[in-house]
Amino acid sequence: MPQAAVEWEPVIGLETHVQLGTSSKIFTAASTNFGDEPNTHIDPVVCGLPGTLPVLNKRVLEYAVKAAMALNLKIAQHCKFDRKQYFYPDLPKNYQISQYDEPIAEDGWIEVEVAEKGKDTYLKTIGIERLHMEEDAGKLVHAGSDRLAGSTYSLVDYNRAGVALAEIVSKPDLRTGREASEYASEIRRIVRYLGVSDGNMQEGSLRCDVNISVRRGSDAPFGTKVEIKNMNSFSAIQKACDYEIKRQIKTYESGGTVLQETRLWDENKQLTKSMRSKEGSSDYRYFPDPDLGPIEVSIELQDQWRSELPELPSAKRHRYAKELGLSAYDSRVLTDDSQMASYFENVVLAGCDAKLASNWITGDLAAYVNAQRITFDKLLFLPEQLAELIQLIVEGKISGKIAKEILPGLLEKGGSPKNIVESQNLGMISDPKLIEKKIDELFSQFPNEVESYRAGKKKLQGFFIGQLMKNTSGKVDPKLANQILSKKLNAN
């Protein structure tokens, strides 16, 4: 009898390039602004003019070290820059200043929460091999083709050349497309929390390359590795991995071999296609850059930078669930964006119940923020004001309905909900005598319905409440009104 086939195990690692959000480039003062006219953010250093020299931007070092700390990497006390040599016109010096064998940080990890519809959410620790600093290249624009080959001529834009990058290399710990995309989005969340990058994938400030192979079971040696590029969303990462896993398994099962190559994700066709073979890979002739001395980050400086780190998303998620009693889902949504999380924390700090705050923030407020394309810190409706609004409902001063009605105005201009409720006389009617009087008026208005109710048509209670709300512009306390109404309807 043939042995049952061992399950295929995918092995995935990610190389993530994060543009560090300094206002000037890694080795010169030229601006890093995105989206401007070609070659407007260049200077003699960016263009590699003869006689120019690089000088490390100290803020780049700070951002890289802070990112490394947040990824639990060990910071090297000494490291250096190397020259990675290859000829390409987007690289002004025809070498890239990077870090080869002595990166600024090595050996770390992050925890990701892997949540997928219809599956159990689980936590997974992903190892991180290293983080190093390097300069970005420029961009080629090809006339008559999307590639250099086949174009009639090409233009080069050096605006991006020399922008600081942190390259973060994961260990091959990822096993599914979902894990890969969760890992990448956690990296983005972390760099955004730190404020060291905007992590914008569309603009290329966060770029992921995937290395992926499959093997027969977790003890088998690694299979042939394929690199996938050109994914500019997290879902593209997931889909590209899932596609590639299937493609490789299918290739092996039909007796074929997987080639060591670089493939591109085609977003339109939703598949990966071969770009170039990796065999006979380039010799980059790395050597230490003699223009830049060794980099030393003293323990004192490390301590200072460590003390400036904010609470990171995974710590927040745990705290929200544990200390505030929120669901894993709510914790995850609230912490996805550090501005949202900080808004939420301020609402809770103002004395509001966490669950109620969470509902309002992830619901109406998030919808407004997204629609306006702003962030929570730009909201004119302040956290204390939301807390006040929620408090008015909790105390029975206004109904939820009224709250929703005054919310659009509050979101637009901010202001004290209490004052608005008072000035517009929106306070809830919760005086039993007054409610009783209103119900009496209703009964004399709808005698037939009263009779039908008493004859057993109990559903009509809703009708009376609706009418009552209508007559009081929704201001009557619904709980109290229901109590009194039942009592009166069932009185005889």
């Binding site: 003019l49 003869p50 020299l53 040599q85 016109p89 025809n94 050597f287 830049l292």
Partner: protein, 488 residues
């Protein structure tokens, strides 16, 4: 001979105006530099304009900076804003830098006037100024001889009085060897003492800018102006700049001067050179210095080490010349790879291509350990030899070059023989030490002989002191042979 101090006196007394001095220099260049060919570019109009402004300021009674009105020549691998900077290469024939090198900026701030850009071996790679794409420079002492290199133009211009002083760059001896061949003073400062911003890189870990002058005082004065930390150069040293002229006149009595045994035992060392330098040593002894024989066992490994490290760095430094952004581009091709390859093949001369190939090879996978990394290890050992030597002595003494100026064309087909002329200067670059060459005699054919003094890191003050004391005591300048180019 006219030194900076002498011109300054004349200018101050009004015996000559700045404009007259510049005009006189220009007319001398026009009359004799077609034979010497020390200049690639003469900065006539701007120099006259600058001189006229200084004369105005002087007439108005303004206080003038130390180098006011002094005509200075600059090696053409130092970027000068708006003025062609070619590195003596077809590749950069049309290159006009949009920025000024830090050293020249400092000179102009100190009142110095750029009289012209001087010839060099292409990209400073060579020891004879014969690899220049724009023609060789002749030695003013004997025009059939080379001026040395790579800063041959800057050395010849000072020697033939076509400027008062000049700047060169020294990667393996490119200031000291031509200074020795041309009978002038040439100083290579401690690595990092002087900014490299605007110096077109050959080998970044070895390159250093320094002055050529007619005496040690002038060298000290120029170093004073150009030295110091530059925020634009991470490798420049953040050490205070001492007063380099202060101790020149102090006696060297009790100073310990080491004679490096390995240098004097050289097979290729000319007897005349050896004799002359040993005589200079005796002279120093008579000034009260103590002579000590020193061994630097790795000294002679310097040349092999250098010819791995320097080409390796050069192969990367020169990769930017690809025809894409500036400089020479071969247009008649349809694809990028050919454009770059042919632009480089035609834009660079043979010696530059040779060194790029050596460096590319030495850094290639499979060879980098045996060559580049091994060379770095030997470099450390050479530095250690010097560290040990400086525990015993204050200053080291060697000949600058094993020979006097050789005949033009002599080493054309023999790069190794050419490389050997830097045998004695290279170790100071590898160790980053300050070193000076100054004239100490003439060979029987009347060619100058240079002696080299090497100091410890940042010990330029004592280096200059010993050099100055020697210069004052020797008859060398007084016994200068009759040479029409120099004396006319």
């Amino acid at each position: 001979m006219q030194t900076i101090a002498q011109w300054r006196q004349k200018l101050l007394k009004g015996e000559v105006s700045s404009l007259e001095l510049i005009d006189e220099t220009i007319s001398r260049i026009e009359s004799i530099d077609n034979t010497i060919h020390s200049y690639l570019y003469v900065n006539k109009d701007k120099a006259r304009f600058a001189a006229a402004k200084i004369d105005e300021a002087r007439a108005a009674g303004d206080a003038l900076p130390p180098l006011a009105g002094i005509p200075l020549a600059i090696k053409d691998n130092l970027c000068t804003q708006g003025i062609p900077t070619t590195c003596s290469s077809r590749m950069l024939e049309t290159f006009v830098p949009p920025y000024e090198s830090t050293v020249t900026e400092k000179l102009w701030k100190a009142g110095g006037i750029l009289i012209g850009k001087t010839n060099l071996d292409e990209f400073a790679m060579g020891s004879s100024t014969e690899t220049s794409a724009f023609g060789a420079t002749a030695n003013p002492w004997n025009v059939s001889r080379v001026p040395g290199g790579s800063s041959g133009g800057s050395a010849a211009a000072v020697a033939s009085r076509l400027c008062t002083a000049s700047l060169g760059s020294d990667t393996g001896g490119s200031i000291r060897q031509p200074a020795s061949f041309c009978g002038v003073v040439g100083l290579k400062p401690t690595y990092g003492r002087v900014s490299r911003w605007g110096l077109i890189a050959f080998a970044s870990s070895l390159d250093q800018v320094g002055p050529f002058s007619n005496n040690v005082e002038d060298a000290a004065e120029l170093l004073q102006v150009i030295a110091g930390k530059d925020p634009k150069d991470s490798t420049s040293l953040d050490a205070p700049v001492p007063n380099y002229s202060e101790n020149l006149s102090t006696s060297i009595s009790g100073m310990r001067i080491g004679l490096i045994k390995e240098c004097f035992d050289q097979e290729g060392l000319d007897a005349d050179v050896k004799e002359s330098v040993l005589k200079a040593a005796e002279n120093l002894q008579s000034l009260g210095a103590e002579l000590v024989e020193i061994s630097c066992p790795r000294f002679n490994d310097g040349i092999a080490t250098y010819y791995v490290i320097a080409p390796s760095e050069a192969s990367a430094n020169l990769a930017r010349y690809d025809g894409v952004k500036y400089g020479y581009r071969f247009e008649e091709v349809d694809d990028l790879a050919s454009m770059t390859a042919i632009s480089r093949a035609r834009g660079f001369g043979n010696e530059v291509q040779r060194r790029i190939l050596i460096g590319t090879y030495a850094l290639s996978a499979g060879y980098v350990d045996a060559f580049y990394k091994k060379a770095q290890q030997v470099r450390t050992l050479i530095r250690r030899d010097f560290d040990n030597a400086f525990k015993k002595v204050d200053i080291l003494l060697t000949p600058t070059s094993p020979t006097t100026a050789f005949k033009s064309g002599k080493n054309h087909d023999n790069p190794l023989a050419m490389y050997l002329s830097d045998l004695l200067t290279i170790p100071a670059n590898l160790a980053g030490l300050p070193s000076i060459s100054l004239p100490c005699g003439f060979d029987p054919s009347g060619l100058p002989i240079g002696m080299q003094l090497i100091g410890n890191v940042l010990d330029e003050p004592r280096l200059l002191q010993v050099a100055h004391q020697y210069e004052q005591s020797s008859e060398i300048m007084k016994s200068a042979p009759d040479c029409e180019f120099i004396n006319s």
